[in-house]
C-alpha cells in the first residue's frame, strides 16, 4: 500500500464522511481546540461520572485526518477511566509520531488506522488536536487550547 493510501485508509474516509459522536453534550465539560497553522477548530464535550468518561462528543471543522481522528477518539475513550484514556493518548501519540511502541498492556484498536500519519510529520497536529482538546476539557481549562501550546 502506498504511503498515501496508508494515510487515507477507507476507515478514515468513512469516519470523515460520517463521524461518530458528532454532537453537543449539554451540561458537561467542554473545550475548544484550534490549530492556528491551518485554521482547524474542534470543540470536545466530555461527561464524567467519577473518573470514568461516561460520554464524549465533538463538533468542528477540519481536514479528514482531524475529523476522523476526533471521531475515532470519541469511540475509543467512551467508558474508559481517565487514567486509561490518558495512557491511550500517549500510546496514540507514539503511533502517529512514529516513536517506538512500549509494552503497556494497552491496545490501540481501531486507532491503529491513523498510524500512517507518522509518514507525514506536518499532519501529526491534525491527528492529535482532538486529543489535546479532550484533555483540556477534562482539566476544564478555560479558553482555547491550540496545537502550539499543547505539546
Amino acid at each position: 500500500m502506498s504511503e498515501l493510501s496508508d494515510l487515507y485508509q477507507e476507515m478514515i474516509l468513512d469516519h470523515h464522511r460520517s463521524p461518530k459522536n458528532y454532537r453537543v453534550i449539554e451540561g458537561g465539560r467542554q473545550a475548544k481546540g484550534h490549530n492556528p497553522l491551518c485554521g482547524d477548530q474542534v470543540t470536545v464535550y466530555v461527561q464524567l461520572e467519577g473518573d470514568v468518561i461516561k460520554d464524549v462528543a465533538f463538533q468542528g471543522q477540519g481536514c479528514a485526518i482531524s475529523r476522523a481522528s476526533a471521531s475515532l477518539m470519541t469511540a475509543a475513550v467512551k467508558g474508559l477511566t481517565l487514567g486509561k484514556a490518558d495512557a491511550l493518548f500517549r500510546k496514540f501519540q507514539r503511533s502517529v509520531t512514529g516513536e517506538p511502541d512500549v509494552e503497556d498492556g494497552i491496545e490501540l484498536g481501531k486507532l491503529e488506522v491513523l498510524s500512517g500519519v507518522s509518514h507525514f510529520p506536518v499532519r501529526v497536529k491534525c491527528a492529535t488536536l482532538a486529543w489535546h482538546t479532550m484533555r483540556a476539557a477534562i482539566d476544564s481549562q478555560q479558553g482555547t487550547v491550540t496545537t502550539e501550546d499543547a505539546k
Partner: protein, 424 residues
C-alpha cells in the same frame, strides 16, 4: 546599454525554457517524481547564479563589511554596497541612502510601525490599511494603534476581491496619519490601485507605505511613480536568498526617524555619556547585516531585470488566464478573487470538491508532486471574510509553464478520484 540595444532586447522573445533550466530545483525528481512547484507566493526558487554568487562570497571574500582594512573586507563592502545600488535602480529610488537592507518585508513594515509610528502617531490619529492585508501588514499597525490610542481603519473589499475605491475618500481623511496597503494580495492575487491610494494619502498629508512582498517580484515597481514614502519587500520571493529584504524609505522620512535597533554599525560615535548615529542608510542597519543575502539579492535583481519585469508580468498573466479558464470549467471548484487578469497576479486560490485544502495539498503532492499551499495564508481575517476556514493556493512565477497549469488540473481530478474512491 544603448537605447537601440535596450529596444532590441525588449523585442527579443524570452526563452522561457532556458529560464527554467536556470533553476536547479525546477523539474527535479523528488522521491522519484518530477516536482511541479506552484508555491512561489510563499517563496520563489533560486537560480544557479544566485546560489553560486553566495557560495563565491563565502569561499573567496568572506569578511565583515564597512570595517576591515584588508583586501577581502574591501571587496565584501564593495559588493554589498553595489547590491544596494542595484536595488535602488530596480525600484527607481533617487538615492542609495533610501535603501535599507532588512531580513524581509515583515522587518521593513515593523521598522516603519515602530520607528516612524511610535514617534509621530498620536491618540485620535487614524491608520488605514485594507481588508486584503497579510498579517505582517496588519498586526504591526494593530499593535501601534493599541499603543498610541490611534484608530485602525480598513479599506473594504468588494465581492470580487478588489478594493472598494468608492469609499476611499471617506476612509482616508485629514485624521489619517499612515496608509499602508499591499501592492498585490497574497491570497486573492488582487493587484491594488496603489497609485490612486498614494495620491489620496498625499492629499491628506498621510504617510504612504506599500507592502511590496507580492508585487515587487511580479511587475515593474517604481517608488517615485507610485509616490510612496515607504515600500518593503522580501528578497526570497524575487529569486533571492531567504532573510534578504529591502525597505525603501524617502530620505526626509528616514531622517526624521530615530533608529529601530541600536548597536554596532549604526553609530557614528559612542562615548560613555552618549552616542550619535551613523548616516543613512546605515543608521537602520545595526549589527552585521546579511552580507551574502544582500549580494545574492543584487544578483537576483540582475537576473529578473534581464528578463524584464514587464515580460514577467505578461508571462504570469498568460498562465493565470489559462488557469482561470480551466478553473471555471472544473466542476466542484470554488474560485476566489478577481477574474480579470489585468487586476490579478499569478495566484489562484480555491476550494475543491469538499476536500479540505490540507488533505488536498497532501494528495496533490503524494500523487503528482504538485506543490500548493493550504491554509489561511497568514491572512486569517480575509479567509474568514471569504467564509471559509482555509483555501488552497497555486501561484506562478517565471519558471512555470502552461503544461504545469494542465498538470495542476489533472492532479486535481486525480485527487478527487482518490478521495472519493469507494464512496458512492
Amino acid at each position: 546599454m544603448t537605447v537601440a540595444a535596450t529596444a532590441a532586447q525588449a523585442q527579443a522573445p524570452v526563452d522561457w525554457g532556458r529560464v527554467r533550466a536556470d533553476f536547479p530545483l525546477i523539474g527535479k525528481l523528488i522521491k522519484g517524481k518530477q516536482i511541479v512547484y506552484l508555491d512561489s507566493a510563499a517563496t520563489s526558487q533560486k537560480p544557479h547564479v544566485v546560489i553560486d554568487t553566495m557560495k563565491r562570497y563565502y569561499e573567496e571574500y568572506n569578511a565583515n563589511v564597512h570595517r576591515g582594512a584588508y583586501n577581502i573586507a574591501a571587496k565584501a563592502t564593495q559588493e554589498y554596497e553595489a547590491a544596494r545600488e542595484k536595488v535602488r535602480r530596480f525600484v527607481n529610488a533617487s538615492s542609495t541612502k533610501e535603501i535599507v537592507f532588512t531580513k524581509g518585508t515583515t522587518e521593513g513594515l515593523n521598522l516603519v510601525a515602530y520607528a516612524w509610528g511610535r514617534k509621530f502617531v498620536k491618540p485620535d490619529d487614524e491608520v488605514v490599511i485594507s481588508e486584503l492585508e497579510h498579517h505582517s501588514n496588519l498586526v504591526p499597525w494593530q499593535v501601534l494603534c493599541t499603543a498610541t490610542g490611534a484608530k485602525l481603519k480598513y479599506i473594504p473589499i468588494r465581492e470580487d476581491g478588489t478594493l472598494d475605491m468608492s469609499r476611499l475618500d471617506e476612509i482616508i481623511t485629514r485624521r489619517t496619519r499612515i496608509v499602508s496597503v499591499t501592492g498585490q494580495s497574497n491570497v486573492l492575487g488582487t493587484v491594488t490601485p496603489i497609485r490612486d491610494i498614494a495620491r489620496r494619502a498625499r492629499e491628506v498629508g498621510a504617510l504612504m507605505v506599500v507592502d511590496g512582498a507580492q508585487s515587487v517580484p511580479h511587475q515593474p515597481v517604481d517608488v517615485q511613480a507610485i509616490g510612496c514614502d515607504f515600500l518593503a519587500f522580501s528578497g526570497h520571493k524575487v529569486c533571492g536568498p531567504t532573510a534578504s529584504g529591502v525597505l525603501f524609505g524617502r530620505r526626509e522620512r528616514l531622517e526624521e526617524m530615530d533608529p529601530f535597533l541600536y548597536g554596532g554599525e549604526m553609530i557614528r560615535e559612542v562615548r560613555y555619556d552618549g552616542s550619535t548615529w551613523n548616516e543613512l542608510p546605515w543608521k537602520f542597519e545595526a549589527g552585521t547585516p546579511g552580507i551574502a543575502q544582500a549580494i545574492g539579492l543584487g544578483v537576483a535583481i540582475d537576473y529578473v531585470s534581464a528578463i524584464g519585469m514587464d515580460r514577467i508580468r505578461e508571462h504570469e498573466a498568460s498562465l493565470t488566464r489559462k488557469a482561470l479558464a480551466m478553473a471555471a470549467e472544473l466542476k466542484d471548484l470554488t474560485l476566489y478573487g478577481p477574474r480579470d487578469v489585468s487586476v490579478r497576479g499569478g495566484v489562484i486560490t480555491f476550494n475543491f470538491a469538499e476536500i479540505h485544502p490540507h488533505d488536498l495539498a497532501t494528495i496533490l503532492d503524494e500523487q503528482d508532486r504538485v506543490c500548493v499551499r493550504a491554509g489561511h495564508h497568514c491572512a486569517m481575517p480575509l479567509t474568514q471574510k471569504l467564509g471559509v476556514a482555509a483555501t488552497a493556493r497555486a501561484s506562478f512565477y517565471i519558471y512555470n509553464t502552461e503544461e504545469e497549469v494542465d498538470l495542476l488540473f489533472d492532479a486535481l481530478r486525480r485527487a478527487k478520484e482518490f478521495f472519493y474512491r469507494g464512496a458512492r
